[in-house]
């Protein structure tokens, strides 16, 4: 190792944060990755409990947050890329920023990994466990089609040694099918509560056909996207039996869900303060990871009850007598889940939708036409669209009939997000809540604005709590 590289990288990150250059969260990682990439493997070797990688289109950050809380409650020291910086440099930064003394027999690495980065992360970190949540169409201009990602995942999973295990979402046929490529143990998780399903697949569902024979699946239950209970009518390949099974889901809208989970003959009743069925899957992914790591599932309920939402994932910020709830919407399936949770809330809503087209958002904003914004028609008191594509968003809502009818709000597109946020808050009555639906870069920008306006703490402080 070059003398002092580690210290230099840490100092650079701290200096960047102090200078207010973004969070500076992945800068130390970038420095190490550029100057001595092998350092990552050496640091990771200090994680006595090994490395867990979590990937998938939706839910990585939340699943990692839940799992980190559970692992901490189990007495482990978790090294974690908490800020959601999920390329190699973000993982490197998490390792670099961990004081040397905290690595040791009790330390476990928990890293969320971008879908496209997963093969490199697996090759370089030799994970003990890989958790795969789901694969939906997302940022086609960046990732390419879903099939291409599945192919790359399959190839890298085939290289895992028999000691490495997998936790797979059994309800996503693309993910569940990867189990056949693994030589080690696979833990399958899923939902067995047809009452949580929908009558048919949504527009946003990717077309999925049998991996073995190419026939379109038959579904007896569809949850969201292409998730559900599926079976191939030709060759009979079907959803694998569940090791971690959610038997009942009772949703309380944005307030969260009450779930019953069975695993290893034990039954866990838990309330999670995170909305929607998508967060139930995030919980199940974390529980499946726990089981794959052979840690006990008992005594979870208390930990789960105190879960705090990650910024942008239905977290609530109080601003005087008004509240802001931020709901990240970055792809059709995730956006539909958010809209469903919102539609279940009573009353007319005030909304701010911020659509950006940065590289991290996907430069192609066509995806909003696959989102069922029609679900909220007639429930909107006020709405402002914002971001670089504010007009595109307003146009989509116009076609979803949000501005038709006597009680309908008027169309307002304010590209400047701070202006849009302040206008939205100003229009809000005391006691009311503003729901903000930003894309990824709009969410980061929103966080900056809210920090500047003293509404919330900077996210890197939270990361270093």
């Amino acid at each position: 190792m070059k003398p002092g590289l580690l210290q230099f990288a840490r100092l650079a990150g701290r200096a960047a944060r102090r200078a207010g250059v973004g969070g500076g969260t992945s800068l130390p990682g970038l420095i190490v990755e550029r100057s001595e990439p092998a350092l990552i493997q050496r640091l990771a070797a200090g994680l006595g409990q090994g490395v867990v990688l979590v990937s998938g289109t939706n839910g990585k950050t939340t699943t990692c947050r839940i799992l980190a809380d559970l692992l901490t409650a189990a007495g482990l020291h978790v090294v974690h890329n908490r800020t959601g910086s999920n390329l190699m440099r973000g993982i490197a930064a998490a390792l670099v920023n961990t004081p040397q003394g905290e690595l040791g027999p009790n330390a476990i690495g928990l890293f969320e990994v971008d879908e496209a980065t997963l093969p490199e992360a697996v090759a370089r970190l030799s994970p003990r466990l890989v958790v795969l949540l789901n694969l939906f169409r997302d940022q086609l201009d960046r990732y390419g089609e879903v099939d291409a990602i599945v192919g790359r995942w399959r190839a890298i999973i085939a290289t895992l040694p028999v000691q490495s295990s997998l936790a797979l979402n059994a309800d996503d046929p693309m993910v569940a099918g990867l189990g056949s490529a693994a030589s080690g143990t696979t833990v399958y998780f899923g939902v067995n509560d047809p009452s949580a399903g929908q009558p048919e697949l949504e527009h946003a569902a990717d077309f999925v056909e049998c991996l073995a024979c190419g026939t379109p699946y038959d579904y007896t239950v569809t949850y969201f996207g292409h998730l559900g209970h599926y079976r191939c009518p030709t060759c009979g390949w079907q959803r694998p039996p569940l090791d971690v099974e959610c038997t009942t889901v009772r949703s309380s809208g944005l307030a969260g869900s009450q779930v019953t989970v069975q695993a290893d003959g034990a039954t866990v009743e838990a309330g999670i303060p995170l909305p929607g069925l998508y967060n139930v899957y995030n919980l199940l992914g974390a529980l499946a990871a726990l089981r794959a790591l052979q840690l006990p599932l008992g005594g979870l309920a208390g930990t789960l009850h105190t879960l705090q939402p990650v910024f942008g994932r239905a977290d609530r910020v109080q601003v005087g007598d008004k509240a802001i709830v931020t709901l990240l919407t970055k792809n059709p399936v995730g956006a539909n889940q958010v809209l469903r949770a919102l539609a279940a809330e009573p009353g007319q809503k005030a909304l701010l939708l911020a659509l950006n087209d940065g590289v991290a958002d996907g430069q192609d904003v066509s995806w909003i036409w696959d989102v069922d914004y029609e679900l909220l028609r007639g429930q909107i008191a006020r709405v402002i669209t914002s971001g670089r594509r504010a007009a595109d968003m307003a146009l989509r809502l116009k076609h979803a009939h949000w501005f038709e009818g006597d009680e309908a709000p008027s169309l307002e597109a304010l590209p400047d997000l701070q202006h849009a946020l302040q206008t939205s808050l100003y229009q809000l009555l005391p006691g009311q809540t503003l729901y903000v639906l930003p894309t990824y870069t709009a969410m980061l920008y929103l966080r900056d604005i809210m920090t500047r306006l003293d509404m919330t703490r900077p996210y890197w402080q939270e990361a270093l709590r």
Partner: protein, 255 residues
């Protein structure tokens, strides 16, 4: 009263980039004017009635579906679609659907896929070592500007019978070489533009609706002016962003 009948070809298999927004737009632009409209999904295995529609739309799909859809088009739908087009039914195809209306599609690897030949053009994929054509595109059509987002590997070359739909101002277009975007031949239209395409290009949407309404036997004058201010704002934004993209260089991307 006239009812405009829209056929949506392969809505499950060919809807990769929100192309269903085109159908949403056509339907709403009719309803906002009090014109009655129906939409029928035409899927794999379904036969087409050449007299059943005034306008048929097909979107883009994943590479995996291209072969299956091409087989279904040729074996079950080719004759009916040809007959419909001869009777002036409007056909709009985007991206993957556009490629299938040509004479053939040559993938980066594997055998040629024969197309319907409703547009005199062919498409060849240069292989996955060569960049895809990705980014915001602006083009000139009849003196107006069309905007959208393109994302395609194949390069399309037009024959003599097909006319370029528009001239590229920013972006790649059909092949990145001859500055053409899309093609038209009679009442058949093809384009690489997603976005969705029609909502942000209301003049072009109405251009298609005018022909489809004529096919439906409607009296002229049904296409009354609409308030397109947000449409034109979205269009202007796309033009501005395409300009910024040009100055910073295209995103180059390989599978």
């Amino acid at each position: 009263m006239t009812t405009l009948r829209i056929g949506h070809l392969y809505p499950r298999h060919m809807n990769l980039y929100g192309d269903r927004g085109n159908v949403v737009c056509l339907v709403n632009r009719c309803r906002w004017r009090g014109i009655s409209v129906t939409v029928e999904a035409i899927g794999l295995g379904d036969a087409i009635d050449p007299d059943g529609y005034d306008l048929i739309f097909v979107g883009g799909g994943p590479d995996r579906e291209q072969g299956r859809v091409a087989d279904d088009l040729l074996s079950l739908k080719a004759d009916a679609l040809r007959a419909a087009v001869e009777r002036q039914v409007v056909l709009l195809a985007v991206c993957g659907g556009y490629q299938l209306l040509g004479r053939y599609y040559r993938p980066g690897d594997g055998a040629d896929l024969p197309g319907l030949g409703l547009l005199d053009l062919y498409t060849e994929h240069p292989g996955h070592r060569v960049h895809r054509c990705i980014g915001n595109l602006t083009a000139t059509w009849n003196g107006a500007t069309l905007v959208g987002f393109e994302n395609h590997g194949g390069r399309t070359h037009l024959g003599a019978a097909a006319t370029p739909l528009a001239t590229v101002a920013q972006g790649w277009g059909n092949n990145g070489v001859d500055h053409t975007e899309g093609a038209t031949q009679g009442t058949v239209y093809g384009t690489y533009l997603h976005g969705s395409f029609l909502p942000k290009n209301p003049a072009f949407a109405d251009h298609l609706l005018a022909q489809a309404l004529a096919h439906a036997g409607a009296a002229p004058g049904l296409l009354t002016p609409l308030d397109d201010s947000i449409e034109l704002r979205a269009l202007a934004t796309a033009v501005r962003l395409a300009g910024e993209q040009q100055s910073t260089g295209f995103l180059s991307w390989k599978i």
